[in-house]
Amino acid sequence: MGTSKVIRVRVDSARCQGHNRCCSIAPELFEADELGNAHARGDGLVPTGLEAKAKLAVANCPEHAVRLTHE
């Protein structure tokens, strides 16, 4: 992919309703809090090899709460 890009995942907490799809698809990238709402693990950095899972997490969120950012 030429120049290396940093990809991060982010969960919009105002939209997340706790469907838990992202945590099921990519437990390496997302975790649920005690109410069942999701957030990105750590700083949301997507390690090499997990890009496809990150995209699937975005594409499966019923509330459109999961986002990818490219830096």
């Binding site: 469907h19 838990n20 005690e34 069942g36 699937l56 499966n60 509330e63």
Partner: protein
Amino acid sequence: MNSGSKPRHPPVEDWATDFDHRDPSWVENPYPIWDELRGRCPVAHSKRFEDGAYFATRYAEVREIAYDAEHFSSRRVIVRERKVPTQPAPPITSDPPEHTPARKLLLPAFAPQAIARLEPRARALCRELLDAIGSAKTCDAAVDYAQHIPVRLIAHMLGVPEDDGDLFRRWIHLVLEVGNSDETVILPALQEMSAYFMTEIKKRGTQRGDDLISFLLDAKMEGQPLSDPHLLGTLRLLLIAGIDTTWSGIGASLWHLATHPEDRRRLAADPSLMPMAIEEFLRAYAPVTMAREVVKETTVGGCPFKEKGQVLLSFPAANRDPAVFPDADRVIIDRAENRHAAFGLGRHRCLGSNLARLEMTVAIEEWLARFPEFRLAEGARVTWSEGTVRGPRSLPVVLGIPWNFV
């Protein structure tokens, strides 16, 4: 669970202006009806229900209604022929701002971490049911298997006898099916449920166990214990919402696998497909249709919604919208992108969704481990429930390895 005394409804002539989700053709196979409506009249109407009822068939309008609590209230979550006095069952019947605290207090008990702890019990009870089927060559996968799993697990969670399942199923049948046409059965069923829970509460006295009734007895909402009506309403909700919904999801998945041998063999051979397959069964056979009541006139999808109208909020129809799901009427067990709405959209997302997924996954895994080969029995009459929750109530199957049948 046929009551045998269901009133008949006149046949539907035009689904766009006279829809009826209790019509036998809808109950049997609603998908062609929804496809037709999506093409020519995405918001249908019917005068068969008090103050009229609306029915949106496209994902976009379903989503818009689900997100719009200003115009669409949750105080009526079932479309009925005649409106009965509202029976609060928080948080499903709550609107903002009351909804948020009523839901928040329940969320920890149904969060993924809490539900994961139930997996051993779920697996054990599925195996007990499969052991009871034993080496029989036929069984009813709905009656002998699917219907018992959520009943027993929710009884386990509530801390009430798992053997009370017949009682629970009767109440649910009256409230969710018979009551849509005959409102006189609803209140007595709800009163029986409340009396049942009052007895359970009294049994606990000041003692507390590791169960949901104890949890709710000690729960505080904005610093105050729950009022009796709130407590009993929530307990009735947990019982009603947690049973025939998942029983339907398990049954519909088994129906699919009984009628699609290629999917069944693929799934039995490759368990890594299971999570995607479960999401696809949830999408394609979403059991739950909710409702709203119009509290302020508005327009959705170019159609006026008049105040007091009832709204059939069909997440199952949204899930079959080809604008969002390519090949929407095909079940693709490895569909990777599947933003389905089986558990609703917005603030009322099914509280028990993690529990439902656990039950469905474990039930299908355990069934396939025991019966990798099965099919519908010759001449089997599969019957589907009517109304709010759709799933097979009778599912006769032949079990075993095909070459052993002879």
